[in-house]
């Protein structure tokens, strides 16, 4: 009988073939990687070229900046990831967002005693623009959102709460859960909210509504008005529209110092 390929020789041969395959495979893979990195390199060079060529536009135009950010996001590049990387050195975008972050913190701190650390994105936007002066580069709400996201990495101090079509920016680490957020959303239109409004809009029990409102009072985010017709109203200074355009008075500013 002749059986092929079962002897010791055959095993050795098979092993040899396997290693050969493996080696070949490795070579192929290396080739592929080399090619890929070459492609990526080319792409990066182009993106860099593009970036340096349009540096001015990226820095100046808010709209252009959004598009550039989107472009970077699709290929997994975060130009803000580090202050030292190529992107920030090249474009100064890192500095731009850091600067913006500082300005956001300044505005939030200055108004904290009024609104308890809650502010609409629009108001924040207006005040940051005002603070930057006429000749600084334009800043969009998208830029603010990005800068705030960067601030989050400093701790849980900053967060954004979606209300209606916009956002509330929270600059104090108050514990807000879904219930609180929903109530804030309800208060967005009029600047205040009542127990029965919550009951009818959200079909909650009175207790649950009261509990949330008490919490907002406790955190200094809401003010109580007992003189309203019918039932008490809970007002959110952050959503009080007349406050919107008011400057910080000198008296208020002097209270900022702890």
């Amino acid at each position: 009988m002749h059986r092929r390929g079962v002897g010791a020789g055959a095993i050795a041969k098979k092993k040899l073939a396997e290693t050969k395959y493996k080696e070949r495979g490795n070579v192929l893979a290396e080739d592929q990687i080399a090619q890929m990195s070459k492609q990526l390199e080319t792409f990066k060079t182009h993106l860099e070229e593009f970036a340096s060529k349009h540096k001015q536009e990226i820095r100046k135009s808010a709209q252009f900046r959004v598009q550039f950010q989107d472009m970077c996001a699709t290929i997994g590049v975060d130009p803000l990831a580090s202050g030292k990387g190529f992107w920030s050195e090249m474009l100064g975008v890192g500095d731009f967002y850091y600067e913006l972050g500082v300005q956001i913190i300044e505005v939030c701190l200055a108004l904290k005693h009024r609104n308890g650390g809650l502010i609409t994105l629009e108001e924040l936007h207006q005040r940051v623009l005002k603070g930057r002066g006429k000749f600084a580069q334009d800043v969009s709400q998208d830029d603010l959102t990005r800068a705030i996201k960067k601030l989050k990495s400093l701790g849980n101090g900053f967060s954004m709460i979606p209300v209606g079509g916009t956002y509330l920016v929270q600059s104090v680490p108050a514990e807000l859960n879904m219930d609180h957020t929903v109530v804030l959303q309800l208060a967005e239109k009029k600047g205040f909210v009542t127990v029965s409004e919550i009951r009818s809009s959200l079909t909650w029990e009175t207790e649950r509504a009261k509990h949330v409102l008490e919490h907002l009072l406790k955190e200094g985010l809401a003010w109580l008005d007992t003189q309203a017709a019918g039932e008490p109203q809970y007002w959110l200074p952050a959503l009080f529209s007349e406050l919107y355009s008011r400057d910080v008075s000198p008296e208020e500013a002097s209270q900022l110092m702890p």
């Binding site: 009024r114 205040f192 009072l217 003010w223 008005d225 007002w235 200074p237 406050l243 008075s249 209270q255």
Partner: protein, 174 residues
């Protein structure tokens, strides 16, 4: 120039004493500041508590909110602690409002005197508060009791001496 109300004046809960201690503290500070700036603007030197409650300061007709008596008393007490208010009678129904404390007025007057090189000269009280020379100064038109208090404060610092004439008073600055 009409009085510019602070934003809180149109914020309805401003007229309800706040249950949260921190918020209430902010509220009281804002109220004190409002009372003082209002009195300063309208040159009000005395307040009758009953009248004050009906006056526009504590009574915003536009938003139909009125600060309750209890809260008004807390604010007055707060002002007294800061040295901006003094009760006239024991029942605490009338008070003197000092939007600047006597020491602050004294300082302003003394600055004016030294700037004009008139230390060592004698003034009547009327000259100081109603004379032509002081027409541009903030203390022009100051009521006599307030002026006297301010000069007494200066006297304590040995910067002035109050002299009694026949039926009026004068002051010498050092």
């Amino acid at each position: 120039m009409s009085f510019e109300w602070p934003w809180q004046y149109n914020f309805p809960p401003f007229f309800t004493l706040q249950p949260n201690a921190d918020t209430r503290q902010k509220q009281l500070v804002a109220w004190c500041s409002l009372v003082l700036t209002y009195c300063r603007h309208h040159k009000i030197y005395t307040l009758d508590v009953m009248e004050a409650q009906e006056s526009p300061i504590f009574n915003n007709k536009k938003i139909e909110r009125k600060l309750p008596t209890e809260a008004v008393q807390i604010i007055f007490e707060e002002l007294r602690k800061k040295g901006n208010l003094e009760w006239i009678d024991k029942n605490k129904s009338r008070c003197l409002i000092m939007w600047r404390r006597p020491e602050e007025w004294g300082k302003l007057i003394y600055q004016w005197v030294s700037k004009n090189g008139m230390t060592n000269s004698v003034f009547t009280l009327y000259e100081l508060s109603n004379g032509d020379d002081t027409a541009k100064e903030e203390f022009h038109g100051l009521e006599e009791w307030m002026l006297l208090k301010s000069l007494q404060a200066l006297q304590l610092e040995q910067k002035a001496e109050i002299i009694a004439f026949n039926d009026s008073k004068g002051v010498k600055f050092f």
